[in-house]
Protein backbone atom coordinates (compact mmCIF):
# COMPACT_ATOMS: atom_id res chain seq x y z
CA UNK A 1 0.00 0.00 0.00
CA UNK A 2 1.26 3.50 -0.61
CA UNK A 3 2.58 5.57 2.24
CA UNK A 4 -0.19 8.12 2.04
CA UNK A 5 -2.86 5.44 2.30
CA UNK A 6 -0.90 3.78 5.02
CA UNK A 7 -1.16 6.72 7.35
CA UNK A 8 -4.91 6.75 7.05
CA UNK A 9 -6.69 6.52 10.31
CA UNK A 10 -9.71 4.56 11.33
CA UNK A 11 -12.37 5.65 13.77
CA UNK A 12 -12.61 3.41 16.82
CA UNK A 13 -14.59 3.44 20.00
CA UNK A 14 -12.62 2.35 23.02
CA UNK A 15 -14.01 1.58 26.43
CA UNK A 16 -11.29 2.38 28.94
CA UNK A 17 -11.75 2.46 32.72
CA UNK A 18 -15.49 2.66 32.21
CA UNK A 19 -15.29 5.61 29.87
CA UNK A 20 -16.12 5.67 26.21
CA UNK A 21 -13.59 7.28 23.85
CA UNK A 22 -14.12 7.86 20.18
CA UNK A 23 -10.89 8.49 18.34
CA UNK A 24 -9.03 8.14 15.07
CA UNK A 25 -6.14 5.74 15.06
CA UNK A 26 -3.78 4.25 12.52
CA UNK A 27 -4.30 0.49 12.44
CA UNK A 28 -0.66 -0.04 13.35
CA UNK A 29 -0.78 1.94 16.57
CA UNK A 30 -0.21 -0.24 19.58
CA UNK A 31 -2.80 -0.12 22.32
CA UNK A 32 -0.07 0.97 24.75
CA UNK A 33 0.76 4.00 22.60
CA UNK A 34 -2.87 5.00 22.18
CA UNK A 35 -3.59 4.69 25.89
CA UNK A 36 -0.54 6.78 26.71
CA UNK A 37 -0.38 9.34 23.99
CA UNK A 38 -3.96 9.65 22.68
CA UNK A 39 -5.84 9.17 25.93
CA UNK A 40 -3.15 10.54 28.27
CA UNK A 41 -3.29 7.44 30.45
CA UNK A 42 0.44 7.42 31.06
CA UNK A 43 0.44 5.02 34.01
CA UNK A 44 0.79 2.17 31.54
CA UNK A 45 4.47 1.95 30.68
CA UNK A 46 6.44 0.55 27.80
CA UNK A 47 9.66 -1.30 28.47
CA UNK A 48 10.29 -3.70 25.61
CA UNK A 49 7.48 -3.75 23.03
CA UNK A 50 7.99 -7.46 22.82
CA UNK A 51 5.82 -8.94 25.50
CA UNK A 52 8.65 -9.77 27.87
CA UNK A 53 8.82 -7.08 30.54
CA UNK A 54 5.16 -6.74 31.48
CA UNK A 55 5.33 -2.99 32.15
CA UNK A 56 2.52 -2.42 29.65
CA UNK A 57 0.14 -4.98 31.13
CA UNK A 58 -3.51 -3.87 31.28
CA UNK A 59 -6.72 -5.74 31.90
CA UNK A 60 -8.68 -6.62 28.80
CA UNK A 61 -12.12 -7.81 29.80
CA UNK A 62 -10.69 -8.41 33.25
CA UNK A 63 -7.68 -10.45 32.19
CA UNK A 64 -4.07 -9.24 32.19
CA UNK A 65 -2.77 -8.82 28.66
CA UNK A 66 0.11 -6.94 27.04
CA UNK A 67 -0.91 -3.61 25.59
CA UNK A 68 2.29 -3.60 23.51
CA UNK A 69 1.12 -6.78 21.77
CA UNK A 70 -2.34 -5.56 20.90
CA UNK A 71 -3.37 -3.03 18.31
CA UNK A 72 -5.64 -0.27 19.48
CA UNK A 73 -8.10 -1.15 16.71
CA UNK A 74 -8.35 -4.63 18.18
CA UNK A 75 -9.43 -3.29 21.55
CA UNK A 76 -12.72 -2.06 20.14
CA UNK A 77 -15.57 -3.73 21.95
CA UNK A 78 -13.38 -4.77 24.88
CA UNK A 79 -13.30 -3.22 28.34
CA UNK A 80 -9.77 -2.03 29.01
CA UNK A 81 -8.66 -1.29 32.56
CA UNK A 82 -5.44 0.47 33.48
CA UNK A 83 -4.02 1.39 36.86
CA UNK A 84 -5.85 4.68 36.63
CA UNK A 85 -9.04 2.64 36.58
CA UNK A 86 -8.06 0.69 39.69
CA UNK A 87 -7.19 3.79 41.67
CA UNK A 88 -9.77 5.35 43.98
CA UNK A 89 -10.55 9.05 43.59
CA UNK A 90 -8.58 9.75 46.71
CA UNK A 91 -5.95 7.69 48.48
CA UNK A 92 -4.90 4.21 47.51
CA UNK A 93 -6.65 0.92 46.83
CA UNK A 94 -5.98 -1.82 49.40
CA UNK A 95 -3.43 -3.43 47.09
CA UNK A 96 -1.74 -0.10 46.41
CA UNK A 97 -1.66 0.61 50.14
CA UNK A 98 -0.05 -2.76 50.77
CA UNK A 99 2.58 -1.91 48.15
CA UNK A 100 3.41 1.27 50.01
CA UNK A 101 3.38 -0.43 53.39
CA UNK A 102 5.77 -3.17 52.25
CA UNK A 103 8.04 -1.02 50.07
CA UNK A 104 7.10 -3.02 47.01
CA UNK A 105 8.35 -0.38 44.59
CA UNK A 106 11.46 1.66 44.03
CA UNK A 107 11.57 3.47 40.70
CA UNK A 108 7.92 2.59 40.15
CA UNK A 109 8.25 1.95 36.45
CA UNK A 110 7.20 -1.69 36.59
CA UNK A 111 4.60 -1.01 39.26
CA UNK A 112 1.46 -0.30 37.21
CA UNK A 113 1.86 -3.51 35.18
CA UNK A 114 2.43 -5.44 38.37
CA UNK A 115 -0.52 -3.89 40.20
CA UNK A 116 -2.83 -4.72 37.33
CA UNK A 117 -1.59 -8.31 37.15
CA UNK A 118 -1.79 -8.88 40.90
CA UNK A 119 -5.23 -7.30 41.10
CA UNK A 120 -6.41 -9.85 38.53
CA UNK A 121 -4.67 -12.65 40.41
CA UNK A 122 -6.39 -11.79 43.67
CA UNK A 123 -9.75 -11.64 41.95
CA UNK A 124 -9.25 -15.14 40.57
CA UNK A 125 -7.53 -16.51 43.61
CA UNK A 126 -8.14 -14.46 46.75
CA UNK A 127 -5.77 -16.55 48.89
CA UNK A 128 -2.73 -17.45 46.83
CA UNK A 129 0.38 -18.92 48.42
CA UNK A 130 3.83 -17.49 47.81
CA UNK A 131 4.64 -19.86 44.95
CA UNK A 132 1.41 -18.91 43.17
CA UNK A 133 2.16 -15.22 43.56
CA UNK A 134 5.68 -15.63 42.22
CA UNK A 135 4.44 -17.68 39.28
CA UNK A 136 1.80 -15.07 38.40
CA UNK A 137 4.41 -12.36 38.82
CA UNK A 138 7.01 -14.10 36.68
CA UNK A 139 5.85 -12.31 33.54
CA UNK A 140 6.60 -8.90 35.03
CA UNK A 141 10.21 -7.83 35.30
CA UNK A 142 11.21 -5.55 38.13
CA UNK A 143 14.83 -4.48 38.03
CA UNK A 144 14.83 -2.68 41.38
CA UNK A 145 13.15 -4.64 44.14
CA UNK A 146 14.25 -8.26 43.80
CA UNK A 147 10.50 -9.04 44.09
CA UNK A 148 10.48 -10.00 47.78
CA UNK A 149 8.59 -6.97 49.03
CA UNK A 150 6.18 -7.21 46.09
CA UNK A 151 5.37 -10.78 47.08
CA UNK A 152 5.00 -9.68 50.70
CA UNK A 153 2.63 -6.88 49.71
CA UNK A 154 0.43 -9.18 47.63
CA UNK A 155 0.29 -11.80 50.36
CA UNK A 156 -0.55 -9.13 52.93
CA UNK A 157 -3.28 -7.67 50.74
CA UNK A 158 -4.71 -11.16 50.27
CA UNK A 159 -4.65 -11.77 53.99
CA UNK A 160 -6.49 -8.57 54.68
CA UNK A 161 -9.08 -9.59 52.13
CA UNK A 162 -7.86 -6.65 50.09
Amino acid sequence: MSQAEARQTQRVVLQVNGQRHELDVEPRWLLADVLRHQLGLTATHVGCEQGVCGACTVLVDGKPERSCLMLAVQAEGCEVTTVEGLTPAAGLSPLQAAFQQHHALQCGFCTPGILVTMEALLRENPHPDEATVREALSGNVCRCTGYQFIVDAVLAAAKEGR
Binding site: E5, R7, E49, G54, V60, K63, L69, S138, G139
Partner: protein, 270 residues
Protein backbone atom coordinates in the same frame (compact mmCIF):
# COMPACT_ATOMS: atom_id res chain seq x y z
CA UNK B 1 10.24 -0.53 17.40
CA UNK B 2 6.97 0.31 15.71
CA UNK B 3 5.17 -1.63 12.95
CA UNK B 4 5.08 -0.57 9.33
CA UNK B 5 1.74 0.72 8.16
CA UNK B 6 -0.92 -1.77 7.14
CA UNK B 7 -4.64 -1.94 6.60
CA UNK B 8 -6.85 -3.67 9.10
CA UNK B 9 -9.94 -5.76 8.53
CA UNK B 10 -12.17 -7.37 11.08
CA UNK B 11 -14.34 -10.05 9.52
CA UNK B 12 -17.40 -11.29 11.39
CA UNK B 13 -17.38 -14.78 9.95
CA UNK B 14 -14.90 -17.37 8.80
CA UNK B 15 -16.22 -17.11 5.25
CA UNK B 16 -15.63 -13.39 5.25
CA UNK B 17 -12.15 -13.86 6.70
CA UNK B 18 -10.97 -16.27 4.05
CA UNK B 19 -12.48 -14.10 1.34
CA UNK B 20 -10.52 -11.14 2.66
CA UNK B 21 -7.32 -13.13 2.80
CA UNK B 22 -7.87 -14.07 -0.83
CA UNK B 23 -8.82 -10.56 -1.94
CA UNK B 24 -5.99 -8.70 -0.27
CA UNK B 25 -2.60 -9.83 -1.45
CA UNK B 26 0.03 -9.47 1.23
CA UNK B 27 -2.53 -9.85 3.96
CA UNK B 28 -2.05 -12.02 7.02
CA UNK B 29 -4.37 -13.34 9.66
CA UNK B 30 -3.84 -12.11 13.19
CA UNK B 31 -5.09 -14.07 16.18
CA UNK B 32 -3.52 -13.49 19.60
CA UNK B 33 -0.75 -11.42 18.09
CA UNK B 34 1.70 -12.76 20.66
CA UNK B 35 4.10 -13.86 17.95
CA UNK B 36 3.02 -11.64 15.11
CA UNK B 37 3.07 -8.29 16.90
CA UNK B 38 6.63 -8.68 18.21
CA UNK B 39 7.62 -9.41 14.60
CA UNK B 40 5.67 -6.33 13.46
CA UNK B 41 7.33 -4.19 16.12
CA UNK B 42 10.76 -5.34 14.98
CA UNK B 43 9.59 -4.75 11.38
CA UNK B 44 10.51 -8.34 10.61
CA UNK B 45 6.94 -8.93 9.43
CA UNK B 46 5.64 -6.36 6.94
CA UNK B 47 2.12 -7.31 5.92
CA UNK B 48 0.02 -5.08 3.67
CA UNK B 49 -3.06 -5.87 5.69
CA UNK B 50 -4.12 -7.78 8.77
CA UNK B 51 -7.27 -9.85 8.92
CA UNK B 52 -8.29 -10.10 12.56
CA UNK B 53 -9.74 -13.48 13.48
CA UNK B 54 -10.64 -12.53 17.03
CA UNK B 55 -14.29 -11.68 16.43
CA UNK B 56 -15.21 -14.74 14.43
CA UNK B 57 -17.86 -16.60 16.38
CA UNK B 58 -17.46 -20.32 17.01
CA UNK B 59 -13.67 -20.47 16.63
CA UNK B 60 -13.05 -20.58 20.36
CA UNK B 61 -15.00 -23.69 21.28
CA UNK B 62 -13.88 -26.93 22.86
CA UNK B 63 -16.15 -29.96 22.48
CA UNK B 64 -16.18 -33.73 22.22
CA UNK B 65 -17.46 -34.91 18.85
CA UNK B 66 -17.80 -38.64 18.73
CA UNK B 67 -14.41 -40.13 19.40
CA UNK B 68 -12.57 -36.85 18.95
CA UNK B 69 -11.82 -33.78 20.99
CA UNK B 70 -12.34 -30.73 18.83
CA UNK B 71 -10.63 -27.46 19.74
CA UNK B 72 -11.20 -24.20 17.90
CA UNK B 73 -8.22 -22.34 16.48
CA UNK B 74 -8.98 -19.28 18.56
CA UNK B 75 -8.87 -21.06 21.91
CA UNK B 76 -6.39 -19.20 24.12
CA UNK B 77 -3.51 -21.00 25.80
CA UNK B 78 -4.89 -20.25 29.25
CA UNK B 79 -8.31 -21.65 28.25
CA UNK B 80 -6.60 -24.75 26.94
CA UNK B 81 -4.70 -25.03 30.20
CA UNK B 82 -7.85 -24.78 32.32
CA UNK B 83 -10.59 -26.32 30.20
CA UNK B 84 -12.26 -29.30 31.91
CA UNK B 85 -12.65 -31.28 28.67
CA UNK B 86 -8.99 -30.80 27.82
CA UNK B 87 -7.92 -31.72 31.35
CA UNK B 88 -10.11 -34.81 31.21
CA UNK B 89 -9.18 -36.14 27.80
CA UNK B 90 -5.77 -34.64 27.09
CA UNK B 91 -4.15 -33.70 30.37
CA UNK B 92 -0.76 -33.57 28.68
CA UNK B 93 -2.08 -30.85 26.36
CA UNK B 94 -3.48 -28.89 29.28
CA UNK B 95 -0.13 -29.19 31.01
CA UNK B 96 1.83 -28.13 27.93
CA UNK B 97 -0.42 -25.12 27.40
CA UNK B 98 0.38 -24.02 30.95
CA UNK B 99 4.06 -23.91 30.02
CA UNK B 100 3.56 -21.44 27.17
CA UNK B 101 4.97 -18.06 28.11
CA UNK B 102 3.51 -16.18 31.03
CA UNK B 103 -0.03 -15.69 32.21
CA UNK B 104 -0.61 -12.48 30.23
CA UNK B 105 0.74 -14.14 27.08
CA UNK B 106 -1.44 -17.20 27.60
CA UNK B 107 -4.52 -15.05 28.06
CA UNK B 108 -4.22 -13.82 24.51
CA UNK B 109 -2.11 -16.27 22.48
CA UNK B 110 -4.11 -18.89 20.60
CA UNK B 111 -3.71 -22.51 19.68
CA UNK B 112 -4.17 -21.77 15.98
CA UNK B 113 -1.60 -19.01 16.13
CA UNK B 114 0.96 -21.17 17.83
CA UNK B 115 0.49 -23.95 15.29
CA UNK B 116 0.51 -21.59 12.30
CA UNK B 117 3.59 -19.81 13.61
CA UNK B 118 5.41 -23.13 14.12
CA UNK B 119 8.23 -21.96 16.34
CA UNK B 120 10.48 -25.01 16.75
CA UNK B 121 10.63 -24.37 20.49
CA UNK B 122 6.86 -24.18 20.90
CA UNK B 123 5.09 -26.74 23.03
CA UNK B 124 1.73 -27.04 21.27
CA UNK B 125 2.88 -28.12 17.81
CA UNK B 126 4.76 -30.98 19.45
CA UNK B 127 1.75 -32.07 21.44
CA UNK B 128 -0.33 -32.07 18.25
CA UNK B 129 2.21 -34.25 16.48
CA UNK B 130 2.46 -36.58 19.44
CA UNK B 131 -1.32 -36.82 19.70
CA UNK B 132 -1.76 -37.41 15.97
CA UNK B 133 -4.12 -34.46 15.71
CA UNK B 134 -5.76 -33.42 12.48
CA UNK B 135 -5.95 -29.76 11.51
CA UNK B 136 -8.87 -28.21 9.73
CA UNK B 137 -7.64 -25.62 7.24
CA UNK B 138 -10.23 -23.37 5.67
CA UNK B 139 -9.83 -21.20 2.60
CA UNK B 140 -12.16 -19.60 0.09
CA UNK B 141 -11.98 -22.91 -1.78
CA UNK B 142 -13.30 -24.91 1.13
CA UNK B 143 -12.01 -27.08 3.94
CA UNK B 144 -9.08 -29.49 3.96
CA UNK B 145 -7.89 -31.78 6.70
CA UNK B 146 -4.18 -32.06 7.27
CA UNK B 147 -2.67 -34.39 9.86
CA UNK B 148 -0.36 -32.62 12.29
CA UNK B 149 2.35 -35.08 11.32
CA UNK B 150 2.30 -33.71 7.78
CA UNK B 151 1.74 -30.06 8.67
CA UNK B 152 5.12 -28.93 10.06
CA UNK B 153 7.85 -28.56 7.45
CA UNK B 154 10.61 -26.98 9.50
CA UNK B 155 11.62 -23.71 11.08
CA UNK B 156 8.49 -21.46 10.90
CA UNK B 157 7.32 -23.41 7.84
CA UNK B 158 4.06 -25.29 7.53
CA UNK B 159 1.57 -26.66 5.03
CA UNK B 160 -0.62 -23.62 5.64
CA UNK B 161 -1.28 -21.47 2.58
CA UNK B 162 -1.24 -17.68 2.96
CA UNK B 163 -4.98 -17.48 2.44
CA UNK B 164 -5.89 -20.33 4.76
CA UNK B 165 -7.12 -20.21 8.32
CA UNK B 166 -6.47 -22.96 10.81
CA UNK B 167 -10.01 -23.21 12.12
CA UNK B 168 -9.82 -26.17 14.45
CA UNK B 169 -7.86 -29.21 15.51
CA UNK B 170 -9.19 -32.62 16.35
CA UNK B 171 -7.49 -35.06 18.66
CA UNK B 172 -8.42 -38.72 19.08
CA UNK B 173 -9.69 -39.49 22.55
CA UNK B 174 -6.75 -41.29 24.09
CA UNK B 175 -7.12 -44.99 24.74
CA UNK B 176 -5.04 -46.64 27.40
CA UNK B 177 -1.92 -44.78 26.40
CA UNK B 178 -0.12 -42.90 29.14
CA UNK B 179 1.57 -39.60 28.50
CA UNK B 180 4.32 -37.54 30.02
CA UNK B 181 5.51 -34.04 29.29
CA UNK B 182 8.78 -32.35 30.23
CA UNK B 183 10.74 -29.31 29.23
CA UNK B 184 13.83 -27.41 30.25
CA UNK B 185 13.91 -23.62 29.99
CA UNK B 186 16.34 -21.01 31.32
CA UNK B 187 13.55 -19.35 33.30
CA UNK B 188 9.98 -20.48 33.85
CA UNK B 189 7.87 -19.11 31.00
CA UNK B 190 10.74 -18.98 28.54
CA UNK B 191 10.76 -20.85 25.29
CA UNK B 192 12.16 -24.31 25.96
CA UNK B 193 15.81 -25.23 25.48
CA UNK B 194 14.50 -28.75 24.96
CA UNK B 195 11.20 -30.47 25.53
CA UNK B 196 9.64 -33.88 25.06
CA UNK B 197 6.34 -35.67 25.14
CA UNK B 198 6.52 -39.35 25.83
CA UNK B 199 3.78 -41.87 25.17
CA UNK B 200 3.66 -45.41 26.48
CA UNK B 201 1.12 -47.88 25.22
CA UNK B 202 -0.06 -50.88 27.20
CA UNK B 203 1.67 -53.23 24.75
CA UNK B 204 5.05 -51.75 25.66
CA UNK B 205 5.50 -49.73 22.52
CA UNK B 206 5.74 -46.00 22.69
CA UNK B 207 7.11 -42.84 21.17
CA UNK B 208 8.91 -39.66 22.02
CA UNK B 209 8.17 -36.31 20.39
CA UNK B 210 10.77 -33.66 20.89
CA UNK B 211 10.63 -29.91 20.46
CA UNK B 212 13.21 -27.12 20.52
CA UNK B 213 15.91 -29.51 19.41
CA UNK B 214 15.40 -29.30 15.68
CA UNK B 215 13.46 -27.45 13.02
CA UNK B 216 10.14 -28.58 14.44
CA UNK B 217 8.49 -31.41 16.35
CA UNK B 218 10.50 -34.65 16.00
CA UNK B 219 8.65 -37.87 16.67
CA UNK B 220 10.27 -41.28 17.06
CA UNK B 221 8.53 -44.59 17.71
CA UNK B 222 10.35 -47.00 19.97
CA UNK B 223 9.99 -49.78 22.47
CA UNK B 224 11.19 -48.08 25.57
CA UNK B 225 13.61 -50.21 27.58
CA UNK B 226 12.63 -50.91 31.16
CA UNK B 227 16.23 -50.81 32.31
CA UNK B 228 17.38 -47.30 33.13
CA UNK B 229 20.85 -47.68 31.61
CA UNK B 230 19.54 -49.22 28.42
CA UNK B 231 16.97 -46.46 28.23
CA UNK B 232 19.61 -43.79 28.65
CA UNK B 233 21.47 -45.31 25.73
CA UNK B 234 18.25 -45.35 23.70
CA UNK B 235 17.62 -41.68 24.30
CA UNK B 236 21.20 -40.80 23.53
CA UNK B 237 21.22 -42.72 20.28
CA UNK B 238 17.99 -41.08 19.18
CA UNK B 239 19.10 -37.64 20.32
CA UNK B 240 22.30 -38.01 18.33
CA UNK B 241 20.19 -38.02 15.16
CA UNK B 242 18.58 -34.67 16.00
CA UNK B 243 19.45 -31.61 13.99
CA UNK B 244 19.90 -29.62 17.19
CA UNK B 245 21.80 -26.39 17.69
CA UNK B 246 24.63 -28.03 19.64
CA UNK B 247 25.65 -31.00 21.77
CA UNK B 248 24.16 -29.40 24.83
CA UNK B 249 20.72 -29.43 23.24
CA UNK B 250 21.17 -33.05 22.22
CA UNK B 251 22.19 -33.85 25.76
CA UNK B 252 19.09 -32.07 27.07
CA UNK B 253 16.93 -33.98 24.59
CA UNK B 254 17.93 -37.20 26.33
CA UNK B 255 17.31 -35.63 29.73
CA UNK B 256 13.80 -34.41 28.92
CA UNK B 257 12.89 -37.66 27.19
CA UNK B 258 13.73 -39.57 30.35
CA UNK B 259 11.80 -37.16 32.54
CA UNK B 260 8.79 -37.30 30.24
CA UNK B 261 9.01 -41.08 30.24
CA UNK B 262 9.07 -41.28 34.03
CA UNK B 263 6.14 -38.90 34.21
CA UNK B 264 4.18 -41.01 31.77
CA UNK B 265 4.55 -43.79 34.32
CA UNK B 266 3.29 -41.46 36.98
CA UNK B 267 6.73 -41.10 38.50
CA UNK B 268 8.22 -37.77 39.25
CA UNK B 269 11.13 -37.31 36.94
CA UNK B 270 12.05 -34.29 39.08
Amino acid sequence: MKPVAFAYYRPQSLAEAVRMLREHPGSKPIAGGQSLIPLLNFRMARPEALVDLNRIPGLDEVEVRGQRLRIGGLVRHQQLHEHPLVRQHWPVLAQAAGEVGHWAIRNRGTLGGSLAHADPAAELPAVMVAADAVFELVSADGVRQVPAREFFYGYLMTALQPDEVLAAVELPLASGTSWGFAEVARRPGDFALAGAICECRPDGTGAVTWFAVGGGPERHELVVAADANERAAQWQDLAATLDAQDDYRRHLAAVVAETAYLRSLGRDGQ
